[in-house]
Symmetry: C2
Subunit: 304 residues, 2 copies
Amino acid sequence: MTNTVISSASKEVIIGFDQPFVVIGERINPTGRKLLAEEMKNGDYSRVQSDALAQVAAGAQILDVNAGIPLADEPAILAESIRLIQSISDVPLCIDSSIVEALEAGLEVYEGKPLLNSVTGEEERLERVLPLVKKYGCAVVAISNDDTGISEDVNVRFDVAKKIVERAMDFGIPASDVVVDPLVMPIGAINSAGQQVMHIVKRLRDELKVNTTCGASNLSFGLPNRNGLNSAFIAMAIGGGMTSAITNPLHSDLMQAVRGANVVMGHDLECSDWIHNYRDQDAGNVGAAPVRGRRSGRRRRTQT
Amino acid sequence: MTNTVISSASKEVIIGFDQPFVVIGERINPTGRKLLAEEMKNGDYSRVQSDALAQVAAGAQILDVNAGIPLADEPAILAESIRLIQSISDVPLCIDSSIVEALEAGLEVYEGKPLLNSVTGEEERLERVLPLVKKYGCAVVAISNDDTGISEDVNVRFDVAKKIVERAMDFGIPASDVVVDPLVMPIGAINSAGQQVMHIVKRLRDELKVNTTCGASNLSFGLPNRNGLNSAFIAMAIGGGMTSAITNPLHSDLMQAVRGANVVMGHDLECSDWIHNYRDQDAGNVGAAPVRGRRSGRRRRTQT
């Protein structure tokens, strides 16, 4: 049972096989958020901070922080964002950038053990990012693509993940500090995308014994009612062994699916988290007792 | 890959490993529905018929029909209910009673190949119900309890299912005509209830190669926000290999979870059923393109 420990200065979060699912809030990312990008570029971090608090209140246990803005000083903005979030919350962070200098700037100011987002199977990435991971003793998200791109063959994607884990171990980074993203494809385009994820996650868990994450929303790209589909998917991914996801905790149906899955997995002791979150709902709809047939023991169905 | 074929006079529904999940509508059951019970007892079947049509419109592919009313002529009422539903809909039916005479009365009037609900591992049930199944050539729901009751030991419940399947085969009934219910317990009382179901379903599918069903709503008995929990559970059960459920199709979030799970399983070709059902939703919320990092191939997340 592998545990990946992420921490802030004062709080620890464990991504693990026997743990409740960990939601990594994705909102602090200027890509696709013009207003946020402008603000961050101009030194206004008020939204960064309010989004941080809102995501934590909605149930995210870790927050992803990205400062990828064209023509801006990404390392500086990322470092400042992290500094400010650390000053208002003890939530552990996931430092997100495609620029190695920005990753390092973030790691320099970070207090605790962060998640680094990310390394891929590309040679240059492995050689530039893994030393950082080792130096700062953080954990890292490993994305299952390499110099040949993103393979549609599930076994190739698994092999890329395996290569990253083995290379990390060469650097002295344990597999428990590598969280693999099997890459979720849009299922409207690739009908087998769901089955692919389940297949790879099972192998990652059983053979490499690593924790996993994904951008859950990718599955529904291009389809209507994305939240509905993402919710079903995330519950199924949890049932299939996925242990975390980078997603939007402000979608209440998504968080409901995560919490429900935690209950079904037996990871919500006494269902206390579920009860805490939903006890004020539908006070008049407690539901009927299970239907008993005339024969004893035939507790068949609950009318709802 | 096992297929269980259920039919009306003019329509076939397949419960199968590679099929979309089959929803068996549970509403036509006077237990817990006082008004319906009164009406049925007094010869008023208008609600039976309107409930039938409503459940089919909501997406149920089979309808369970039960006439268990105290101090009433259950065989006659069940037969009449079936006759009337058959006259207004081609939906295949599941004939539901704990009284063998009622099962037989229903089978007598049924046109096609129904599902019979149910047989258990209890000796008397096996000896009285299985001959009916053989005689009428129907399929049967097999519930995993026996004369010792409902075991909390998953392996005992599996063994009961195995006994039923083997006894059915002794009667010349193929395993493809036995749909096993592994018994879903209330998870508020038994925290391992979800894991139990997943474990048993896997064994039923892999070792006995039978289709499965369950009263999905039982899981959430006594907890708040039952629909939310049932929805997460049903998606996870589908991911774990469950192939049908007796449940309420009028709960739109539950049907959304079923449809979403069908998509994730690759059982909704081109996502056409999903698109058909949800294309009018959130027209202004198509969602952003997947987030691409500056490095090619790094299609990481979709901001939603």
